[in-house]
């Protein structure tokens, strides 16, 4: 077994110096607990912010549209330091409560690039979208880059309500399906939630095969439900996810719904819950 795999799995949570996303950190904590992984917090002083503050006309507009304020390099440096401390403290609280190991690091550069630099093959990277600048689509795009070096990514949308429904696994019958089920099982155990399997199959036979495989893989799971999607389509998937009110979604990053960023972001938004996208093991 390569040395890489002997290392303990990590959940990477990166922050680029803007909001302190509580939900993202909580999801990271839940995932680390489920995967028996360590938490790795990386605060990235985004280069673009430093470049911005060096421009002579640089100004910021408050989130509620307050009058613009001149931006200086010193102001930006202080703000980033303060954000880093806050991020570290919040993450530390979560790690302490869930009895997780925490590593915290700081870097300067581009968040995606720096995450990529520290990511290892067995890591999961948690990313948070916002409804304004960094949309789910943006995160999906960044996540794909990061996921090239990791086991999977978690995209957190702007969910207004903490969901308490099942852990939903999306299985279209390919090789990665079994891994998806296993990760779903771990998360469901941690959240004490049932599992609902969304089966995407062109025929009943295929669907039955997928379900049989799920029963075999999840033999220890007591609450398992199946929902078949008769035909593949983003709209059908979105409706199904909305009906299920999932607390977490697990899927194959290379599965059909996530092949393009636009569709992927629509599905993630419809889920209303964090979505874990697993990179197929064969491709690692």
């Amino acid at each position: 077994m390569p040395a890489e795999e002997n290392r303990k799995r990590r959940v990477l949570v990166g922050m680029g110096g803007c909001d302190i996303p509580d939900r993202m950190m909580r999801v990271a904590g839940e995932l680390a607990a489920a995967m028996n992984a360590e938490l790795y917090g990386l605060f990235v002083e985004e280069e673009y912010l430093l470049d911005l503050s060096g421009l002579p006309f640089a100004k910021t507009v408050g989130t509620s549209g307050q009058a613009p304020r001149a931006l200086t390099e010193q102001l930006m440096t202080d703000a980033l330091r303060s954000q880093a401390n806050l991020f570290r403290r919040s993450l530390s609280d979560i790690a302490q409560k869930a009895n997780l190991n925490l590593t915290f690091a700081r870097a300067r550069g581009r968040a995606a690039r720096e995450l990529l630099a520290v990511a290892r093959k067995q890591d999961f990277v948690v990313l948070q979208a916002t409804s304004t600048v960094f949309t789910v689509r943006d995160m999906m795009r960044a996540g794909r880059t990061v996921a090239a070096e990791a086991r999977g990514i978690v995209i957190c949308g702007q969910h207004r309500q903490a969901a308490s429904g099942p852990v939903v696994a999306i299985d279209d019958g390919d090789e990665t399906g079994r891994q998806t089920l296993r990760f779903a099982e771990r998360i469901a155990t941690t959240l004490d939630a049932p599992i609902s399997l969304l089966v995407i199959a062109g025929s009943d036979d295929k669907a039955s095969q997928i379900e049989a495989r799920a029963v075999e893989t999840l033999k220890n799971v007591k609450q398992l439900k199946f929902h078949r999607l008769a035909s593949w389509g983003a709209d059908e998937l979105e409706v199904a996810l909305q009906d299920l009110h999932p607390s977490f979604v697990v899927a194959d990053l290379e599965g059909e719904p996530f092949t393009d960023d636009e569709t992927a972001s629509a599905v993630i938004r419809a889920a209303g819950a964090p979505v874990l996208l697993i990179r197929p093991e064969k491709s690692i």
Partner: protein
């Protein structure tokens, strides 16, 4: 010589100075102690008697209590006055409970949250027996809603509607930004998120243009970029300003949805409870307010649900007394238990409350506080009822002395009775000691009959000192301490004794024992013709007699056990009396019980230590000389004599001045003293003894020291009744007995006290054997004759006392003083006291 009026009440002409008058006889043996005759009792033991219910001889007080408890006009509260142990508590409780039993049950009262102003909890009046059901129903309602509301908000229907609203917000945000971002990107300008907000920057290949590169751009290009950024910045400001409006709209939509969803659940639950209490208007009004509040605050039921789920880190299990839900609690202040059906009418009776410790808070109730994060907080559930709440609609019995000695209680009680409501405020607020935010609960209307039980003195003090008292306590129930010792009352008293014995689980009493108890009761009443109604003391005597009967192995309490109980009780308290007697016997305190002396007499006083009193002889001496007509009371001069004693001395001064040598100026100087008395003296019971001593000194005739004297005297020389006659006689008897009874010893006492005599058996025995004599005198003349064995003498037709009579000698001495004074005045021309030799 003018005829001088003879003040002694007898016809002076008939008397005509007769020196052959018969000497006074001592009292007969049967007059010294009136014994009960057991033979007149028709029973053998008290077991055969029908115990008497209630009190005897208290008709006046009981009628007052019945009147006071039945009259419903305001201010007709009762004050039961009398001595402790007179059975007032028991009698009042019994009577009040009888009246209360037939009265209707009072309304229930609860405090509920005031949803409009939580600092002013609302008091709800409910029909009797409803409060506890209402409280339980509200508790059930909240328990139901804690499940039902989260379930409703978890429903697919709600989630879908909620998601749609959330989605519209996100869409609103994104569309606002998307348009701007698209236009900015077209101009190679990026919208960036920074820790302080949003910013716009020129972009190149997806990156912000570095400052040094930007600065190298031609000025014109830089200006164009800056201009575009400034323009877009304005648009960005506009977009951002619109975001709060979108959010506000979102919140409003969400609120409307939540209200609609919550209403469905709350309506069902409230309708259920409302139906249960459909005939209670106050509950209906409250439920309407509670419904509105529940719908508005449905979120608190969701918060608790979310706290229970808690994601990967579940919170601690929800506390069932979660303060969030306390706002819907019902605090029962007065709640009757389930009412019994009585002939189709629901009835329980009015409450009778006896508050042992009437502190301010125990009377009016209190607002308690709990500590939360170091601060003291309170709410309407922490309002605790007081005795007035519990007794509202019924009767409250209080010990007057305790109410008066508890700070603020008396004023609070009066305020409540006067105002007709109970208003709970803390004592700290009353005294302006505390200024923390507290509650102002609705006052509760008060209809209560207060019965104060107290000593007679307290009642009269309140009447004279407290102007409100008479308005608020219009009914006085005056409990007598004694009852006449008639045959009828004696029979009733025997039944009362039987009642106490039965109630206390004591052995029955033989009829002889009953007689002995009655004799002791008369002694307790200080009157042979009365029986004491101090039930407490009577019960003590019976308990102790029961003990000694048990000790002797008797099945029945016999007279000897009663006597033993009295003897042992006296012995236990007797140490000081013994020491006093010992000091007399050892001549440390000088008391003569034989021989004669001029200007010296044995007076008698009573010393009390708590419950125990005993008599003691005291030597009183008098000295006289010529002077200006002044009798000096040495006790008064040194402020050891009380006002009553001084009054006695002034009376006897007046008697001397108006009885003797009326044609001469009063030219006497005399001094009176209680020898070896170092404590205060009060009362006028020694005034006859003081007069005898003065007469002896003036007449220069010795007084027999084998006598002791008690009785007060009036200006006409009549001897008047005094208190503690039995103890006083026993006090001198004990001294004589200790030294050996001679047969000459005895007591001079007022004739009007003869009916009070209940002397000890040993004195009665000594009198029977003529070893000790007790003379009941009506006048000073009778007394002085016994004390000096000389006639007092009455004025003859010539206005003169017979020669060789005491009175003649007294008058002669006073005339001599007057002459000497005139002679002295002629020499000096003034009234200064002459330096004449002392006379006695």
């Amino acid at each position: 010589m003018a005829r001088i009026p003879w003040p002694f009440g007898k016809d002076s002409e008939e008397s005509s100075g007769n020196m052959e008058k018969e000497m006074l006889n001592p009292l007969k043996v049967h007059e010294l102690r009136r014994r009960s005759d057991p033979q007149r009792f028709a029973f053998r033991t008290t077991d055969e008697l029908q115990p008497i219910e209630g009190l005897i001889g208290q008709e006046r007080a009981l009628e007052a209590v019945q009147f006071g408890t039945r009259i419903s006009s305001p201010g007709y509260n009762l004050f039961a006055l009398g001595s402790s142990g007179s059975g007032r508590h028991t009698a009042i409780r019994k009577l009040v409970e009888e009246t209360a039993a037939s009265a209707p049950a009072p309304d229930d009262w609860v405090y509920v949250n005031n949803f409009a102003d939580s600092h002013k909890p609302k008091a709800l009046r409910l029909p009797p027996g409803i409060a506890l059901h209402f409280r339980d129903a509200m508790q059930e309602l909240i328990e139901d809603l804690r499940t039902a509301i989260p379930a409703t908000f978890e429903s697919d229907e709600y989630r879908n509607q909620r998601r749609a609203i959330d989605q519209s917000l996100e869409d609103g945000h994104e569309s606002a930004f998307d348009d701007l971002r698209t236009r900015a990107e077209a101009e190679h300008i990026g919208i960036l998120r920074t820790p302080m907000g949003y910013a716009l920057a020129p972009m190149q290949d997806g990156n912000v243009i570095k400052p040094d590169i930007f600065n190298e751009l031609p000025l014109e290009q830089r200006q164009i970029i800056e201009s575009k950024i400034a323009e877009l910045q304005k648009e960005l400001e506009e977009v951002l300003r619109r975001l709060p409006l979108i959010q506000k709209e979102h919140r409003a939509k969400l609120r409307a949805l939540n209200t609609e969803v919550a209403k469905l659940t709350v309506d069902v639950s409230i309708a259920e409870i409302s139906a249960k209490f459909s005939d209670v208007d106050t509950i209906q009004t409250y439920l309407a307010e509670a419904k509105t509040d529940l719908i508005t605050n449905a979120g608190i039921f969701l918060e608790s649900e979310q706290a229970e789920d808690g994601g990967a880190f579940p919170a601690a299990a929800l506390n069932p007394l979660d303060p969030k839900f306390r706002r819907y609690s019902v605090n029962v202040i007065v709640g009757s238990p389930e009412l019994a059906e009585d002939a189709g009418r629901r009835r329980l009776g009015a409450p009778v409350v006896f508050e042992e410790l009437p502190t301010y808070a125990n009377l009016l109730g209190r607002i308690e506080h709990i500590s939360q994060l170091g601060a003291l907080v309170t709410d309407f559930t922490l309002i605790k009822p007081g005795a007035l709440h519990r007794a509202n609609g019924g009767f409250l019995i209080l010990d007057a002395a305790r109410v008066l000695t508890e700070p603020l209680s008396w004023e609070a009680l009066k305020r409540s009775l006067r105002g007709g409501y109970i208003k709970i405020t803390s004592a700290g607020e009353q005294l302006s000691l505390v200024s923390t935010i507290s509650l102002e609960p609705d006052p509760i209307p008060l209809t209560v009959k207060v019965v104060l039980i107290g000593e007679r003195m307290l009642y009269y003090l309140l009447v004279s000192q407290d102007p409100d008292f008479r308005d608020l306590f219009k009914v006085e129930a005056d409990f007598d301490e004694v009852v006449e010792r008639t045959d009828d009352n004696t029979d009733l008293y025997a039944r009362l004794i039987a009642n106490i014995a039965k109630r206390e689980g004591l052995k029955p009493l033989s009829r002889e024992a009953v007689g002995a108890v009655m004799d002791e009761s008369a002694r307790l009443a200080d009157d042979a013709e009365r029986l004491s109604l101090r039930i407490g003391k009577l019960a003590d005597l019976l308990r102790e007699a029961h003990f000694w009967a048990g000790d002797a192995g008797h099945q029945v309490i016999e007279a000897e056990n009663v006597a033993q109980a009295v003897r042992k009780k006296t012995y236990r308290a007797d140490r000081i009396r013994e020491k006093s007697l010992e000091s007399i016997n050892r001549d440390i305190v000088l008391i003569d019980s034989t021989g004669e002396a001029v200007g010296q007499i044995n007076g008698l006083s009573v010393i009390s230590f708590g419950d125990f009193s005993f008599g003691r002889p005291t030597r009183i001496t008098a000295r006289v000389r010529m002077g200006t007509g002044k009798v000096v009371d040495i006790e008064r001069e040194v402020e050891l004599g009380g006002p009553l004693h001084s009054k006695g001395v002034l009376i006897l001064s007046s008697l001397l001045a108006t009885r003797y040598a009326l044609g001469e100026p009063m030219s006497l100087w005399a001094s009176l003293v209680f020898e070896q008395s170092y404590g205060g003296i009060d009362g006028d019971s020694a005034s006859s003894a003081e007069l005898y001593a003065l007469l002896s000194a003036l007449a220069d005739v010795p007084i027999k020291q084998s006598f002791a004297v008690t009785g007060s005297v009036n200006q006409f020389g009549e001897v008047q009744a005094i208190g503690g006659i039995n103890e006083k006689i026993e006090g001198f008897f004990d001294v004589c007995r200790l030294r050996g009874l001679t047969g000459d010893q005895g007591i001079l006492m007022p004739a009007s006290n003869a009916k009070h005599l209940m002397l000890r058996e040993d004195i009665v025995e000594a009198a029977r054997n003529e070893q000790f004599k007790i003379y009941a005198v009506e006048t000073i003349d009778q007394g002085i004759e016994v004390l000096t064995a000389m006639p007092a003498g009455e004025r003859g037709p010539d206005g003169e006392f017979p020669p060789d009579s005491i009175n003649a000698k007294v008058e002669a001495k006073l005339r001599a003083f007057a002459r000497a004074r005139r002679a002295y005045g002629g020499r000096d021309g003034d009234d200064r006291e002459a330096e004449a030799p002392e006379s006695s």
